[in-house]
C-alpha cells in the first residue's frame, strides 16, 4: 500500500550502520528449548564503526555457543574451565578488570552485550546459542524472548517451533509492546497434534513507532505460553540411552494443608516492606480453603505466635488472623532461629495432638529480610537445628526479601529441607511476588512422590523423590540408561494423595518412540540427552552449596566435566572468543554472572573489541582434537 511504501522509505541506517537481519529461532523438543539468535549488521560508512550485539537471555539458560563472522573469517567461542580461563587472564583478573560479555539484568534475565569495531563497507554476523529446560508453572510453560533492537531491522523474525510428544493442548503468544491490532496482524500462531508454531515477522513499516519515525516500537517481552495434553498419565521418553520422565497427572483432588507462616518483623522491615508483607498475608489468608489449618509466627527480638497451634481456616479464624496481621508491629532484632523452631514445633505437634491432620500436606513458609542477629546467630548451628527439628517431614520454603539477605544461606536451608528459596525483590510489586510464590504451593496434590526406575538399568539419575507435588507444576526426572536396557525400561511412581495412595507404572512404548524419532529425528535424541545434562548440572551446582569441602570439590569436578562435555557456560566454565581483543589486549569472555553480582550501573563501561585480520585457527572444547588439513583423501557414504 501507499502508506507502507512511505514507511519503507525510512532510512534504517544509523550512522551508516544498518541491521540486515535479526532472527531468533527457538526449537523446543519435550520442554528442552534451544535458542539461536543471529544478527547481521552492515557498516555502509567509509570508516570503521562500533556496532553492538545486545540481547537478554533467561537466567535459567546456559549459553552453549557464540560466533562472530566478519569478512569471511569466523571467530568462535572456546569453552574452558573457569580456573584455566582465569589463569590465562590472570593479569586482568587481578586488577579487577574483565572483558565479560554477560551481566545480571533484572530479576529473571541476563544481559549479553558485545561491542565490535567493524571495518568500513563490511558486514558482521553474530550468532548466540543458549538452551534451557522449560519449567511448568501455573499450568503452562513460558518462553520469554526479550526484544529490543536499537534500530529498525530489515528482516526481523522470531520463529518458535515446538514439538511435544504428548500433544499440545494450548498455545498462545503475546507481545506486550505491540498495539493489539498489529499483534494480531503480525503474530502467527498455530498448533496441531504434537507440533506448535509461532512466527513473528514484522516488516520495517510494522516496526516503526510512527509512520515517519525511524525508531522501533519493538521493545519488550515476546512471550509464548503453551501446555501439553495430559490424557495419558505417562510421559516417558527414551532416546539414545537417556530418558526423560515428565510427571504432572491431572484430575487429582487438592489435599488439605497445614501451613505455618513464619514472618520476620525486625526493624529493617519497616516502611514499604512490612506494608507489602501485610497486604500479601491478608490476601493469602483470604484464599485459604476451609479444610486447611494454619498459624502465624512472628520473629523480631522475641518470638510470638498467633495461636501456638494449628487452627482450621474457618471464616471466624481467618477474620481473627487477618486482624492479627493488620495489628502487629515491628520489633528490633532478627531471631530467625527462634521463629523457625517455633513454626516447626507447631507443625510437629500434629503428630501428637492433632493426628486427624496428619494426612494433610504440611508446609512451612518463612519470610526474612536480613541476617540473624538475635538468639542463635551461627548459621551452621541454625541449619543443624532446623534440619534436626524438621527431619524431612515437610518442606520449608524461604523467601528472601530485598538485597540484604544472605540468600545463599536461605537456599541451603530450604534445600536441606525439601523446599526451595525465592527472592522477593524490593519493588512496588512485592505483594504480587509474595502472592505469586504462595499460589505455586497453595494446592498440594500429592506428597512423598517417589519415582523409581529399574536399578540395574539406570546409570545417572536426577532427583527422583519429591516431598510434594503442586497443581500446575511438573516433576521432571532424567537419567542415563545402561546399554541394552533401553527396551525394558520402565518407571514406577508412588505417592500419597488426598485420601488415597497413588501408584502407576509407565512402560516405554517402543512403537511410539520409533514414531517420535521418525518425526523429530536427531533433535529428539539430542535433546533428551541435553535435558538430562542440563538438569544434572543444575542439581550438582545446587548440591555443592550444602556439603563440606571435600564433597564440594567432587561435585564441582563432576559439574565441570559435564559442562565441558556438553559445552555449557555454567558458573564453572567460561567461553572466550579468540581473534579479537580490546584496547588493553583482553579477549572477550562469556561467564555466568553469579546471583549476587553487582547491579549493572555499578559495573564499568563496556569494552569495545577489534577483530584481528586473520581468522584464528579452530580449537575445540576437547584439547585432544587435532586440526585437520584443508584437503584430504578419504572414503565415505555415497
Amino acid at each position: 500500500s501507499k502508506s507502507s511504501e512511505k514507511r519503507q522509505a525510512v532510512d534504517t541506517a544509523v550512522d551508516g550502520v544498518f541491521i540486515r537481519s535479526l532472527k531468533v529461532n527457538c526449537k523446543v523438543t519435550s520442554r528442552f528449548a534451544h535458542y539461536v539468535v543471529t544478527s547481521q549488521v552492515v557498516n555502509t560508512a567509509n570508516e570503521a564503526r562500533e556496532v553492538a550485539f545486545d540481547l537478554e537471555i533467561p537466567k535459567t539458560a546456559f549459553i552453549s555457543d557464540f560466533a562472530v563472522t566478519a569478512d569471511g573469517n569466523a571467530f568462535i567461542g572456546d569453552i574452558k574451565d573457569k580456573v584455566t580461563a582465569w589463569k590465562q587472564y590472570r593479569k586482568a583478573a587481578i586488577s579487577g578488570e574483565n572483558a565479560g560479555l554477560v551481566r545480571a539484568s533484572g530479576r529473571t534475565m541476563e544481559q549479553f552485550t558485545i561491542h565490535l569495531t567493524v571495518n568500513p563497507q563490511s558486514k558482521v554476523t553474530f550468532q548466540l546459542t543458549y538452551e534451557e529446560v522449560l519449567k511448568r508453572n501455573h499450568m503452562q510453560y513460558e518462553i520469554v524472548i526479550k526484544v529490543k533492537p536499537k534500530q529498525l531491522v530489515h528482516h526481523f523474525e522470531i520463529d518458535v517451533d515446538i514439538f511435544e510428544p504428548q500433544g499440545i493442548s494450548k498455545l498462545d503468544a503475546q507481545a506486550s509492546f505491540l498495539p493489539k491490532e498489529l499483534a494480531a496482524q503480525t503474530i502467527k500462531k498455530s498448533f496441531s497434534g504434537k507440533k506448535g508454531h509461532v512466527l513473528f515477522r514484522p516488516t520495517v513499516s510494522q516496526q516503526q513507532s510512527c509512520p515517519t519515525c525511524s525508531t522501533s516500537l519493538l521493545n519488550g517481552h515476546f512471550k509464548v505460553t503453551y501446555d501439553v495434553s495430559r490424557d495419558k498419565i505417562c510421559d516417558l521418553l527414551v532416546a539414545n540411552n537417556h530418558f526423560a520422565h515428565f510427571f504432572a497427572p491431572q484430575n487429582l483432588t487438592n489435599m488439605n494443608k497445614n501451613v505455618v507462616f513464619v514472618i520476620d518483623i525486625s526493624g529493617s522491615m519497616r516502611g514499604q516492606k512490612v506494608k507489602q508483607t501485610k497486604e500479601a498475608l491478608l490476601k493469602i489468608l483470604g484464599d485459604m480453603q476451609p479444610g486447611d489449618y494454619f498459624d502465624l509466627v512472628l520473629f523480631g527480638t522475641r518470638v510470638q505466635s498467633w495461636k501456638g497451634s494449628l487452627v482450621q481456616a474457618s471464616e471466624a479464624n481467618l477474620q481473627a488472623a487477618q486482624d492479627f496481621v493488620r495489628g502487629f508491629s515491628l520489633d528490633e532484632a532478627t531471631n530467625l532461629n527462634g521463629g523457625l523452631l517455633r513454626g516447626i514445633e507447631i507443625l510437629n505437634q500434629v503428630q501428637e495432638s492433632l493426628p486427624e491432620l496428619s494426612n494433610h500436606a504440611s508446609i512451612l513458609i518463612m519470610l526474612t529480610d536480613g541476617d540473624p542477629t538475635e538468639g542463635v546467630t551461627d548459621r551452621s548451628q541454625i541449619l543443624k537445628n532446623v534440619r534436626n527439628a524438621i527431619r524431612g517431614r515437610f518442606p520449608l520454603y524461604n523467601l528472601g526479601f530485598g538485597h540484604n539477605v544472605d540468600f545463599n544461606f536461605l537456599e541451603v536451608m530450604s534445600m536441606e529441607n525439601n523446599g526451595r528459596a525465592q527472592r522477593i525483590y524490593e519493588d512496588h510489586d512485592a505483594t504480587q511476588q509474595l502472592q505469586g510464590f504462595y499460589s505455586q504451593v497453595a494446592k498440594p496434590l500429592l506428597v512423598d512422590v517417589d519415582l523409581q526406575y529399574p536399578q540395574d538399568a539406570v546409570l545417572a539419575l536426577t532427583q527422583n523423590h519429591h516431598k510434594q507435588y503442586y497443581e500446575g507444576s511438573e516433576i521432571v526426572v532424567a537419567g542415563r540408561i545402561a546399554d541394552n536396557k533401553q527396551s525394558s525400561f520402565k518407571a514406577d511412581v508412588q505417592a500419597h494423595g488426598e485420601g488415597q495412595e497413588f501408584s502407576i507404572t509407565c512402560l516405554v512404548d517402543e512403537e511410539e518412540m520409533k514414531k517420535l524419532l521418525r518425526e523429530r529425528g536427531h533433535m529428539l535424541e539430542n535433546h533428551v540427552e541435553r535435558l538430562w545434562a542440563y538438569l544434572t548440572i543444575q542439581e550438582l551446582l545446587a548440591k555443592r552449596m550444602k556439603v563440606d569441602r571435600e564433597e564440594r570439590a567432587n561435585l564441582s569436578s563432576q559439574a565441570l566435566q559435564m559442562s565441558l562435555d556438553y559445552g555449557f557456560v555454567t558458573p564453572l566454565t567460561s567461553m572466550s572468543i579468540r581473534g579479537m581483543a580490546d584496547q588493553d589486549g583482553l579477549k572477550p569472555t562469556i561467564d555466568k554472572p553469579s546471583e549476587d553480582s553487582p547491579p549493572l550501573e555499578m559495573l564499568g563501561p563496556r569494552r569495545t573489541f577489534v577483530l584481528s585480520a586473520l581468522q584464528p585457527s579452530p580449537t575445540h572444547s576437547s584439547s585432544n582434537t587435532q586440526r585437520l588439513p584443508d584437503r584430504v583423501t578419504g572414503v565415505d557414504t555415497d
Binding site: M513, K515, N624, P629, V632, D636, T637
Partner: protein
C-alpha cells in the same frame, strides 16, 4: 562408498564409487614396507527396497601396525584396541586418548577418532549416526587420510595408491546427460576415460553436514583410474 582423491599437484579432486556386496572387505591402505594396513568391511541398509540400487557403507574398519603389535577395530558401536588379545573396548560416548608404542588414538566423543602413527600417517574415522528409529538405514563409518607423506612409496590399496603423485589431463569438457554435470575426457595412466564433473561430500571436518567437494567422477568402480580391477582389492580378513 564414494572415494575422494585429492590431487594437490593438479589442485583438483577425483572421485569414484566401489559397488560391492555387504560383507565384502576392501583394502584401503597397505604399506608393504611396514605392514601397516587399513581394511574396511561393507554393510548395506537394513531393508532392501525392491528394484532400487542399494547403498553400501563401511560398517567395520581394521587398522593394523604389526611393527608395534597394534590393531584397532572400529565399528559404529565400539572401538576395540587389539581385539585379538582381548584388549579394551571403548564406546563412541567416550572421550579418550590411547597411546601404544608410537600410535596415538584420539576418540572424540560421538564424532570421530584420529589415529596417528609415528613414522606413518594420520587417519580419521568419522562416525555417522542415523536416527535410531530407522528401519532402513544403520550407523556407518567414513575414513579419511589426513597425512600420508611418511608412508612408503610402495603403499597400495584403494586409497594408498594415491598417496603419491598421479598425473592426469582433462580435455573436451562437454554437456553430459545431466545438464548440471558436464562430461569430459580424462587421460590417466595412458588410458582415455569419460569422466563427469560432480559433487561429493567430505565429512572429515563436519561429520554432521559435511562439505561439498567438486570432483571428476570416474565411472565403473574407478575402472582405468585405479591400479588393476577393483576386485583385486577384496581381502579375506579385516586384519
Amino acid at each position: 562408498p564414494h572415494f575422494i582423491i585429492h590431487v594437490p599437484q593438479k589442485e583438483d579432486t577425483l572421485c569414484f564409487n566401489i559397488n560391492e556386496e555387504p560383507g565384502v572387505i576392501l583394502s584401503l591402505v597397505q604399506d608393504p614396507n611396514t605392514g601397516f594396513s587399513v581394511n574396511g568391511q561393507l554393510i548395506g541398509n537394513k531393508a532392501r527396497s525392491p528394484g532400487q540400487h542399494d547403498g553400501t557403507y563401511f560398517g567395520r574398519l581394521g587398522i593394523a601396525n604389526p611393527a608395534t603389535d597394534f590393531q584397532l577395530e572400529v565399528t559404529p558401536q565400539n572401538i576395540t584396541l587389539n581385539p585379538g588379545f582381548g584388549g579394551p573396548v571403548f564406546s563412541w560416548r567416550d572421550q579418550a586418548v590411547l597411546r601404544q608404542d608410537g600410535v596415538v588414538v584420539t576418540i572424540n566423543k560421538k564424532r570421530n577418532l584420529v589415529v596417528s602413527v609415528d613414522d606413518g600417517g594420520t587417519f580419521e574415522v568419522v562416525l555417522h549416526r542415523v536416527w535410531k528409529g530407522s528401519s532402513v538405514h544403520q550407523d556407518f563409518l567414513g575414513f579419511y587420510v589426513l597425512d600420508s607423506h611418511r608412508m612408503s612409496a610402495r603403499t597400495h590399496g584403494l586409497l594408498g595408491q594415491f598417496f603419491h603423485p598421479i598425473g592426469f589431463e582433462v580435455s573436451d569438457i562437454h554437456p553430459g546427460s545431466d545438464p548440471t554435470k558436464p562430461d569430459a575426457t580424462m587421460v590417466v595412466r595412458n588410458r582415455r576415460l569419460t569422466v563427469t564433473r560432480g559433487l561429493q561430500k567430505d565429512y572429515s571436518k563436519d561429520p554432521w553436514h559435511g562439505a561439498e567437494v567438486s570432483c571428476w567422477f570416474i565411472h565403473n568402480n574407478g575402472a582405468g583410474l585405479i591400479d588393476g580391477a577393483y576386485t583385486d582389492y577384496i581381502v579375506p580378513d579385516i586384519f
